[in-house]
Structure formats: C-alpha cells, structure tokens
C-alpha cells in the first residue's frame, strides 16, 4: 500500500493553499495596473504557474502520488511547452511579418 489511500492532508493545509491562491490572485490584479513594460506578462504568468502548481500538488494530490502519476502530469505540460516553443521559434524569427 503506497500512497493515496493513506494520505489525508489536513483541512488546514487546504485552507492555507486557498489563502495563498487568493493572495496570488490579488497580486496579479494589483500588478496589472502597474507599468512594468515587457515584464507585466512575465510576472502575471509566473504567479499563474505558481498557483497552478499549488493546485496540482495539493488539491490534486500529485505531491502524494507515485512516480508514474508524476511523470504523466509532467509529460502533459511538457508537450504543451514543446508545442508553444516550437511554434514561437517560427513566428519570432519571421522577417516578413508586419511591425
């Protein structure tokens, strides 16, 4: 018997995660009204990634799951990253687009 069936994360952990998620949302909102130039989307996405990782690790129990589950989750996001990176490597290097 390895993991899931014996893990009962406490309600306090969940409430702590909720607090962090709400703080992250407020921070995203507040920072959007400050001019950081090209760093605005970077900061917004960094906070979003941190929030998503908290949800995945604790609400979705990946932190307590076996390696097969962890690998499957990581693979899903890795493929997304490949799709976006490869496509952008084209768009960001085109010399004949407007602007």
């Amino acid at each position: 018997m390895s993991d899931q069936s014996h893990s009962h994360p406490s309600p306090w952990l969940y409430l702590g995660i909720l607090t962090a998620l709400v703080i992250g949302t407020c921070a995203t909102w507040a920072i959007a009204f400050v001019d950081l130039g090209i760093w605005n989307p970077v900061v917004a996405l960094t906070i979003a990634v941190i929030k998503a990782v908290l949800v995945i690790l604790f609400f979705m129990h990946v932190y307590y799951s076996n390696k097969l589950t962890k690998l499957t989750v990581a693979a899903g996001f890795f493929w997304l990253l490949i799709m976006i990176t490869m496509s952008l490597s084209d768009y960001l290097t085109r010399t004949f687009l407007p602007q």
Partner: protein, 218 residues
C-alpha cells in the same frame, strides 16, 4: 479487505491497483485536455505577439471585476472539492454531501456571473460577427481577440457544465452512502476534473482580462 471483493473489477488484483489505474487513466485524459486548451493558448500567444496594441486595447473592454470575482469563486469551489474528497475517504457522509453541494453552488454562481458578463459583451457589440463594433484602431485584430475570448471562456464554461453534471452524479451516489475509505475513486476523479477546470481559469484570467490595464490610451 474481505468486503472489498465486489468493488474490484476482474482485471485487477486488488483495490489499490484498481485505484492507481483509474487515477492514471484520468491523468492521461487530463493531459489530452491540456493540449486541447493548449491549441487555443497557442493561437492567443501568436496573435497577441502579432497585434500587441489591439490586444491590450481589447482586453481593457473585458469586465475585470466580474472576471476577478469569478476567479475567487472558482478557488473557493476547488477548496470545497478538495475537502469533499477528504470527507469521502474518511466516510463522513453528511460533510461529503454538504461539501459537494457547496462546490456545485459556487460552480453555478460562476456560470451566472459569466452569463451576466456575456450579456454585457453582447450589448456592447463585442461579439465577433456582423454586429461587432469597434471604435479604436485595428478592429480586425480586436475581433480576433474577442473570438479567442469567447472561444476560450466558452470552452471553459462548457467544461464547467460537464463538471456540474459530474457533481450531481456524485451527490446521488454520496446520498446512497457508496463512498468510504475503500472506495472513493469517483469523488477523487471528479475532483481532478474540477481542479483542472480551475487551473484553466487561473491562466485565462490574467491573459484575457489583465493585459496592460495600466495604459489608458492606445
């Protein structure tokens, strides 16, 4: 584990193995969902790169207060769902029912707010098509933004409707007392789906509602 015999399908050795296989299957499905939404996120990225000013101007026409409220609503809903999975594991029947009801309640509130928001967009002629009206620069690019806005939030809302259906089914089964420490897989997998839909919104909110809110001109 003697009373677990009826719960294990014949291809599995025991409940543990069945539970792990069920979870793996759900995560593989969710990985395909990541790529399903990923296509839209990619289109968004490319068009925002091509038309940064029009996207920033269009984003300022979204209802940021309603979108922000809905973000908080979904976070509360997800927390209740996580607590519901725990209640199912611990055979706490009444809390399980109330937590599932709370999860669904906030899900419904989200959909109502979304409806109000779509109604405002409709009145403001922001729906792409013959009635689309745009009085700032580059209306074609603004229309692309709003197509992406409706496609992404619409696909997300469609997932919310499926999630609410799953929650109703879980509530029925919870009412019959079907879940306990040995068998709570449906609650857990329903929870995974609900949390995934929450994660999609965590990215949609800053990308659609909060581009360059600090700028007032174009």
């Amino acid at each position: 584990m003697s009373d677990s015999a009826g719960l294990v399908a014949e291809q599995f050795d025991d409940l543990e193995q069945q539970h792990e296989a069920d979870k793996l299957g759900m995560w593989i499905f969710l990985a395909t969902e990541v790529l399903f939404f990923g296509g839209l996120f990619l289109s968004y990225t490319v068009y925002r790169y091509l038309y940064p000013d029009a996207f920033a101007a269009a984003s300022r026409h979204t209802e940021v207060v309603l979108g922000g409220t809905n973000t908080a609503i979904l976070l509360f809903s997800s927390t209740l769902m996580a607590l519901a999975v725990r209640a199912a594991q611990l055979t706490r029947r009444k809390p399980l029912t109330w937590l599932l009801l709370g999860t669904a309640f906030f899900g419904i509130v989200f959909m109502v707010v979304k409806g109000v928001e779509y109604h405002k967009d409709f009145i403001d002629h922001l729906v792409p098509g013959a009635a689309f009206q745009w009085h700032e620069a580059n209306p074609q690019a603004a229309e692309i933004f709003f197509w992406l806005y409706f496609a992404m939030t619409g696909l997300h809302a469609f997932h919310m409707i499926i999630g609410l259906g799953l929650l109703s089914w879980l509530l029925l089964r919870a009412g019959r007392g079907e879940f306990g420490p040995q068998y709570f897989t449906p609650v857990e997998l329903g929870g995974l789906y609900w949390h995934f839909v929450d994660i999609v919104w965590i990215f949609l909110f800053p990308l659609l509602y909060l581009i360059s809110r600090h700028q007032h001109g174009v």
